[in-house]
Symmetry: C2
Subunit: 311 residues, 2 copies
């Protein structure tokens, strides 16, 4: 299971009780913070997010509404006696910004931060036991990256009767589920894993597409992803503004979801000019029906998907 908890769904100017971008991606017992707009630590407190469980922070780009809460959060982690290492991924200058603020405040952190600069062309940035994370470039006014999460459940489905009939001892079933072949210790004969298992469910996957101009090429990075969050700063009636400011409309977000063949689209990063958000849904759903508004405080769950068997 993978969860996405929305802490902020608004664009640059906080408005109508909506906040700048931040969201928590939960995989197993690990939390990943994606972007950290001003006030994120307060939003985490409002929604009872345990910041001590955050292991990685991923920053998409250096516009204030995506990272002005970062140094404050690090400060608070420090005041709360964090000792666990923290990984921060994003544009190169993040490190110098944090270090400058810490120096001005004469603050020595109790914990270590590992900074990882995103490769310009994207790529895998984290290989964890539970999840693989990659970044991909999007099209914005300044360098900007989206992030893709692929959970690794990686377990195969055991065909018990077949395993039994081939004489594999029950104590080896766990290894079979993990994908190992069985070698008969007496005869040396090998029983290939795929003879006694079939593919398990597809692990959940999610991509945060950051701030971007509508760019169909982004779909290339989203192959096989279940759920995406795509910005829709504007409605189509303001498509010109969207283009000038390197943002997207709800219609464009839906189009991108359709092209990428994902299963679910979350819309967010709404301009402060919009008080009500229903028009975003109305615009997107005719193109991509399974569209949801990324309400703040809501956690969206992505479950493993059963593989459909050939008829």
């Amino acid at each position: 299971m993978l969860g996405i908890t929305i802490l902020g769904n608004n664009s640059a100017i906080p408005a109508f009780g909506r906040h700048p971008t931040a969201q928590i991606v939960t995989v197993a017992d690990e939390l990943f913070l994606v972007d950290c707009g001003e006030g994120t630590q307060m939003r985490m407190s409002t929604f009872r997010v345990r910041q001590s469980r955050i292991t990685h922070i991923l920053i998409s780009h250096l516009h204030g509404d995506h990272f002005y809460g970062l140094t404050g959060l690090i400060n608070t982690m420090n005041l709360l006696n964090r000792e666990q290492e923290l990984h921060i991924h994003g544009p190169a200058p993040v490190e110098s910004v944090i270090n400058m603020h810490l120096a001005l405040a004469n603050t020595q952190l109790r914990f270590t931060i590992h900074y990882h600069t995103n490769p310009a062309e994207g790529g895998i940035i984290h290989q964890g036991a539970q999840v693989q994370i990659s970044c991909f470039p999007v099209t914005h006014r300044i360098p900007c990256w989206g992030y893709r999460f692929d959970a690794r459940t990686g377990r195969r489905k055991l065909l018990v009767e077949k395993a039994k009939s081939l004489g594999i001892p029950a104590e080896f079933y766990k290894k079979l589920v993990q994908g190992h072949d069985y070698e008969n210790p007496a005869t040396g004969a090998c029983i290939r894993n795929e003879w006694v298992t079939e593919p398990g469910p597809v692990p959940p996957s999610y991509a945060f597409c950051a701030d971007t101009l509508f760019n169909p090429a982004i779909a290339g990075y989203l192959q096989g992803v279940h759920t995406i969050y795509h910005e829709s700063t504007f409605l189509e009636s303001e498509a010109d503004k969207a283009a000038i400011r390197f943002h997207s409309t709800a219609r464009q977000a839906a189009l991108l979801a359709k092209i990428a063949g994902v299963k679910c689209l979350l819309l967010g990063h709404f301009s402060s000019r919009y008080e009500t958000l229903e028009p975003f849904l109305e615009e997107a759903t005719p193109i991509f029906p399974n569209t949801l508004l990324a309400w703040e405080g809501t956690t969206f769950l992505v479950r493993p998907t059963a593989v459909s068997k050939p008829a």
Copy 2:
């Protein structure tokens, strides 16, 4: 009249719905923002503070809970098409921090910011039509300044009967109230202002004492001030912690108010270890009775004070 609107009254870690330091000082139609902790722009929106009316921002020191909301606020002012100049006072590095953030975001401001570095020893930093502002050094872990506001109502009280008896025409009364002498155009005789007026009420005054170790010398900067805001991060039971961290206790804040001879004390900058704040009042009032907790969202008014006449 001078108003102090509390936007944040907590110390470093936001807690129990309390926020990092920020307050608005209102004099006539001008707003002065004192410190700008993370989330200040949202607090201004919550309490309907019109940020367009802010002419000066005063930063006490470069700990995050006092200025991490500053660049975000400037960004929002820019997005809201501010054209009016803005003055920012504080430690020298404020300018480079803002400029670095703007450069990283590739943002050109539509309005001009004038940066003013506080003199180390303090002094007058603004002489406006309505108010004079000075800064004064306090005793903290890094360079830190408090700010003193002296409103200038400056109007004298007209003694109508005396003015009449000396033959001053009624159309000159307004000038008398403003402090001018009267010269008889026919005779050239001068009627001194103080013969026909007496001192008007004392204009309101206020001082924000920032983050500081208890330091009786600060009272020297507060002579004649009506109301002060003094930090009380801790209660006296944690006086050791207060000293180590260059903060004060409620008792020490009360003592300072007493030494300075002010009329009213506002307590704030509470540590996140305290859920309820009444113990701060209980500790301070035996020493300085007219103590108030600086509740967020509250505006404290300081009125002109009538001068007591000699018996």
